[in-house]
Structure formats: structure tokens, C-alpha cells
């Protein structure tokens, strides 16, 4: 187990150091946070638009990040001889493959956590209709948005400062900086409402769901106005990304990163368009065989289920998690078999 953790940890550290990794992370979070800024058509769906855009960014950038990490840490290390150094030690090849996947999964988890925080901020910051005696109309939350975008800048500055003064790794500092800043803003946003009134000062009177102006302010210190129903949806996307990390790791044992990325993009497309492409096909037909081999990504993309107050049941999340684990196991087994007799070095 020590070897598994050592390889996974090193894969994680190497991956988040890559400029492409933290740039992808920064870009994805920034794009998510900018959605509320450029919303022009309000049909009371601004929050949904921000949420769906955030989840889309999580899926697309997350897939690119997971696959690039897998490609770099497996395919490139096989090509440049780093893998040979590791396999010259008492590390069985299946352990190497599975540890690499675990490292990719850690990178993906960090990415998803920061991206989830950003999309929850973006949804909160989008225009919502507020009906109170002192305010009647659409209200946005510019404070959270400014803080979250400022957090990105601060993450870059902190990374540079840590590198300059303490020789700390810049990439890792920025990667964690983005995560910490978004989570911190998300938690801090519970202290004020969309109109910028602080609960510690205004108490329950600041709560948008209740109360007219001038009503007695009861003790209310913290009230996060967040859509927590998005968490299961994000968790499902994370499961889908774990599948891509497994597929990318398996393919990287025999293919170069560019080829792996192209194959995974193809799987993403066919997986999401599965209903259209494969619906009604017999299992014995070509289309049926393809649909049987490819993971059904529709299981992980349930944006519509949380629209209009809908919820995803915990039971479904468990089932989807089990499905993801099964698909990951199958892909990793295939990867181990493909790698077992491959010449390394």
C-alpha cells in the first residue's frame, strides 16, 4: 500500500505542477464565475444557466484534465524512462497502473471540489427574483462574484509569493489556492444576503425569504443561500470523470497522450449522444455492441433532474457510484492486461 500511495501522490504532485493543469483549472473556474456577468436574457433561469454551465465546464475541462494527467503520467513516463525506474523496483505492473489512476483521481477530485464551489457561487450570484417590502425585483450578488474572481487573482499572487520567498512549488500553490479561495468565498457568502446585508448586523430581517423591512431583527448569524441540490449532480459528474481517468490510464499504457485525448473525446460525445445513436439497437448489431462496450455517460449527467426544485435521490447516487466503480475496474483490468507484456524503457 505504501508503494500505491507513493506513486499516486507523486503523480498528483507532478500533475498539478504542469502549467496546462492549473491553467485549465483557472480557466474553468473563471469561465464559470463569468457566466452571471454576461447573462442578458432573464427568464428566471439565470441560476440554472450558471449551474448548467458550471457542470458543463466541470465535465469538459475535468475530462481534459483527467485524460491529460493520465497521458502524461503513464504514456510520457513510459516513453522517457521514468516508468522503467519505478518498475525496476518491487512494483508489480498492475500496481503501477492502478496507482497512476488513483493519482489522476486525486487531481480530478481537487478540480471538482473547486469547480463545485465556483458553480455554487455563480448560481447564487446570478439574478434571482427577490420580493420584499423594501425590494422587489431581480437581485444579483456582486459581492460573492467579486470575492471569488479576486480569489483567483489572489491565488496567483500567493503562488508567486510562496515561490519567491519560500521556493514553494508555484503550480501546486496556485492549484490549491484556487480551491481554497473558492471554498472560502462559498463559506463566507453565508454571512450576507444578495442585497449585501450582513446577517450579524441585520439579523433575520436580512433573510430574503422572509420579512419586510423594519421588522424586528432576530438573532441570525449565518444563512447560506446556496443550492445544495447541485452537490449530487456534481458528484455524478465526478464519477463520470473517474471513468475517463480510468479509460485514459488504460489507453495510455499503449497510446500517446494526443491519441488518448481524441479517443476519450469520442467516447464523451458518443456517451452523451447515446440515446440518439444507439436507442433501440439490438445487442447483436454493431450499434448494439458499441453501446454495450462504451460507458453510458447519461447516467452521470443529470442537470435536468435538479431543475425546478428537483432532487437526485441518494439511492441513485449510490447506484451510479457502483456503476462507475464497475466501469473503472473493467477499464483498469484491460489497462493492466495491455501493460503486462509491454516493453518498457
Amino acid at each position: 500500500m505504501r508503494a500505491v500511495w507513493a506513486i499516486a501522490r507523486t503523480t498528483f504532485i507532478e500533475a498539478i505542477q504542469q502549467p496546462v493543469a492549473f491553467l485549465m483549472y483557472l480557466f474553468s473556474v473563471a469561465l464559470t464565475l463569468l457566466v452571471p456577468v454576461f447573462q442578458f436574457h432573464r427568464f428566471s433561469e439565470d441560476g440554472r444557466l450558471a449551474r448548467d454551465s458550471g457542470l458543463s465546464c466541470m465535465l469538459v475541462f475535468g475530462m481534459a484534465l483527467a485524460v491529460c494527467t493520465a497521458g502524461r503520467s503513464v504514456s510520457k513516463e513510459i516513453a522517457d524512462g521514468t516508468a522503467a525506474s519505478v518498475l525496476g523496483k518491487p512494483v508489480p505492473r498492475p500496481v503501477f497502473v492502478c496507482s497512476k489512476w488513483l493519482g489522476c483521481a486525486l487531481v480530478t477530485a481537487m478540480f471538482c471540489l473547486g469547480q463545485l464551489a465556483a458553480l455554487m457561487i455563480a448560481e447564487r450570484a446570478s439574478a434571482h427574483y427577490v420580493l420584499r417590502e423594501d425590494f422587489n425585483g431581480y437581485a444579483t450578488d456582486p459581492i460573492s462574484l467579486i470575492l471569488a474572481l479576486g480569489g483567483l487573482g489572489l491565488a496567483l499572487l500567493a503562488g508567486a509569493a510562496r515561490h519567491f520567498f519560500g521556493r514553494h512549488r508555484f503550480g501546486a500553490s496556485v492549484f490549491f489556492g484556487v480551491l481554497y479561495s473558492q471554498v472560502a468565498v462559498l463559506l463566507f457568502s453565508g454571512f450576507y444576503n444578495r442585497l449585501g446585508q450582513f446577517y450579524p448586523v441585520h439579523g433575520e430581517a436580512a433573510c430574503c425569504e422572509h420579512h419586510a423591512a423594519g421588522e424586528a431583527a432576530h438573532a441570525l448569524f449565518y444563512h447560506p443561500e446556496l443550492n445544495l441540490r447541485v452537490i449530487p449532480a456534481a458528484l455524478l459528474v465526478f464519477f463520470g470523470l473517474l471513468v475517463f481517468a480510468a479509460l485514459g490510464t488504460a489507453l495510455s499504457t499503449r497510446m500517446r497522450t494526443g491519441t488518448v485525448l481524441a479517443v476519450c473525446a469520442g467516447v464523451l460525445f458518443t456517451g452523451l449522444a447515446g440515446d440518439t445513436l444507439f436507442n433501440g439497437s439490438s445487442l447483436l448489431s454493431f450499434r448494439g455492441a458499441v453501446s454495450g462496450v462504451l460507458p453510458d455517460l447519461q447516467n452521470f449527467w443529470l442537470c435536468d433532474a435538479i431543475a425546478h426544485g428537483g432532487r437526485i435521490s441518494p439511492g441513485y447516487v449510490w447506484l451510479a457510484g457502483g456503476y462507475a466503480l464497475t466501469v473503472c475496474t473493467v477499464f483498469l483490468l484491460a489497462g493492466c492486461m495491455a501493460f503486462q507484456n509491454r516493453d518498457v524503457g
Binding site: 505504501r2 508503494a3 500511495w5 507513493a6 506513486i7 507523486t10 504532485i13 507532478e14 505542477q17 513516463e77 522517457d80 524512462g81 521514468t82 522503467a84 525506474s85 519505478v86 518498475l87 525496476g88 523496483k89 518491487p90 512494483v91 508489480p92 505492473r93 521556493r167 512549488r169 503550480g171 507484456n341 516493453d343 518498457v344 524503457g345
Partner: protein, 306 residues
């Protein structure tokens, strides 16, 4: 000149018989036959030099010994096990031809990483890492990312990682590549000291002087075929040539002696003034400037309980 006649092969750390390796292309058509029926036996506790020109199959053979490449035919036994045996690899130290290190890790982190691959307890790993860093003279750079290191410094980290498990069998592929003469001397001292402690060493090198200095036996391969094998003395001895070394002899006496020998053998004889090697001279010069240090093995490599 094959020297594979060993009474008990099971006691030999490396036994190779009829080894072949043919590389295939994408369509599984043969492209290059790198090794062609190699037989090799490395005895316990010896320093074995494996020599050959570029493309002769040295590194391919070493990678097959480590289970990194699969042989097309033939058998390999390493410490009594198959090449990809985890049990055998626990006792092997391997320094690849090029030190492939993770560029964002420091030497200390790199060595801890390799210690973890052996499942070494943290406390023991930390102690060994500290001792190795001192041994390879990288204490001043122990917490800098290796990505910024010179080739020689990276090589030192590579040498250290090969020793983290106190190996029984050490496989060194071009160990002095990229090292300055001081580093080269230290690696040679290291190999000698380890061999004295009972470690078996298999090394390749293009620098024949290095091999000559440290190896007990050498094998020369060319085009994947073993061309010669034996001890340095056996291979390099010229049985019909005798050389005298005399100190304090003036030119006149030397000329008289030469004439006497020429009369005896009936043909002209060569007379020269032996010089020390350039490496020895270089080390003498830098020693005067105080830039050399006394090389010491990491203490854990000397301990009997290693």
C-alpha cells in the same frame, strides 16, 4: 573464452542462457534483433563489466534482467527468481543509463519516494535518505527541485536511489555518465567498497578505463553476441611481452640495459617513461586546492544488519 562453467549456478545472482530479443513494429514484424543467443553468468560478490559499442545490446540485456523488456527466447534467473519477480527486485538496485527523475521533487523527496516503493518504515527511510544525501555530497541541494540540476547532480541522485534498499545485486548502466572526474572517482570507490562488502555489481560503461579500474571480470558484446569474457588479467595479458619498471636509472645505464636485452632477444625493444593517468593527475591538482573529499560509504550500507 566463455567463463560460464560455474559448479553451482543456483548460487549465481545472474544466470542467462540463450537470450534473444527481437523488437517488433506496430504490425508485429521484426525490426531489430538486439540480442542473439547470449549466455552470461555473474558470480556472487564480483564486479562484472558488460561492455560493447553503441547498439550492441547492453542496455537491452539489462532491461531484460530487470523484467522491463520481455525476451523473445531464452531464460534469465536473477537471484534465483524470474526477472519480473517482486521478491528478487527487493534485493536489486538499479541505476538506469539516464537518471529519469521527477523534476518537481527535491532529492530528499525523490529518495523518500523510492524508499516508499520498497515499503520501508518511515523512520528507517529518513535515516537512509539523510545518509545517502551526505554520501553523494548533495546536502546543500537536498531541498531544491531536481529539475534544475546539472546532469552530474542528477546522476548523484540516481546513484543514491539505486542504493536505498542496500541491494545484494547492483545494476549500473553507465554509472559515470555525466560525472566529473571527482564524481567518477567516487563512483569507482563506491563500487569497490560495495564489492568488498559482498554486493554483486553488474555495470556497463563506454569508459573502458573505469571498467578496467573496478571490474573483476568483463564481457564484451557486439551486435548482440558475446565476443569475449574473462578477468581483466586474462583478457589484457600479452604473454610474450615483459615490462620492467626501474626507478633511479640514468639514461646511460638504461641505454646499456636496452642494448643487452636487444642482443638477447635479437630485435629492437621499446623503452618508455611511464606517465600517470590524466585522471590521477587531475585529482592530484584539485586535491591541492582542497576540492576533493574522502569518500565514505553511507553508514547503513556498511552495517551488518542492513
Amino acid at each position: 573464452m566463455s567463463n560460464n562453467d560455474v559448479s553451482d549456478l543456483s548460487q549465481c545472482p545472474i544466470v542467462i542462457r540463450g537470450l534473444r530479443k527481437t523488437f517488433l513494429d506496430f504490425w508485429r514484424r521484426p525490426t531489430v534483433e538486439a540480442v542473439k543467443g547470449l549466455d552470461l553468468t555473474v558470480r556472487r560478490g564480483e564486479v562484472y563489466g558488460f561492455l560493447g559499442p553503441n547498439g550492441s545490446g547492453k542496455s537491452t540485456t539489462i532491461k531484460m534482467i530487470l523484467g522491463l523488456l520481455r525476451p523473445t527466447a531464452g531464460t534469465i534467473r536473477v537471484l534465483g527468481e524470474a526477472p519480473d519477480s517482486v521478491k528478487a527486485k527487493r534485493k536489486i538496485g538499479y541505476l538506469p543509463e539516464i537518471s529519469h527523475l521527477h523534476p518537481f521533487l527535491t532529492p530528499r523527496e525523490t529518495l523518500m519516494y523510492y524508499a516508499d516503493l520498497f515499503g520501508m518504515p518511515k523512520r528507517e527511510a529518513k535515516r537512509r535518505v539523510a545518509e545517502l544525501i551526505d554520501m553523494v555530497d548533495l546536502a546543500a541541494a537536498a531541498d531544491r527541485a531536481v529539475g534544475g540540476f546539472s546532469k552530474g547532480m542528477a546522476r548523484r541522485v540516481g546513484v543514491a536511489q539505486a542504493l536505498i534498499n542496500a541491494p545484494e545485486l547492483l545494476i549500473l548502466d553507465e554509472p559515470t555518465s555525466g560525472l566529473d572526474p571527482i564524481g567518477t572517482r567516487e563512483v569507482k570507490d563506491l563500487v569497490r567498497m560495495l564489492a568488498q562488502g559482498g554486493v554483486t555489481v553488474l555495470m556497463t560503461s563506454h569508459l573502458l578505463a573505469d571498467v578496467e579500474d573496478v571490474c573483476d571480470r568483463v564481457a564484451i558484446v557486439s551486435h548482440g553476441v558475446l565476443q569475449a569474457e574473462g578477468t581483466i588479467g586474462e583478457l589484457l595479458r600479452q604473454p610474450d611481452v615483459v615490462r620492467f619498471g626501474v626507478e633511479g636509472l640514468d639514461d646511460e645505464s638504461a641505454a646499456k640495459l636496452r642494448e643487452m636485452i636487444e642482443r638477447h632477444v635479437g630485435h629492437p625493444v621499446a623503452q618508455d617513461y611511464p606517465a600517470i593517468s590524466l585522471e590521477a593527475f587531475f585529482l592530484q591538482v584539485v586535491a591541492k586546492e582542497g576540492k576533493t573529499r574522502e569518500f565514505k560509504l553511507a553508514p547503513y550500507l556498511e552495517r551488518s544488519d542492513k
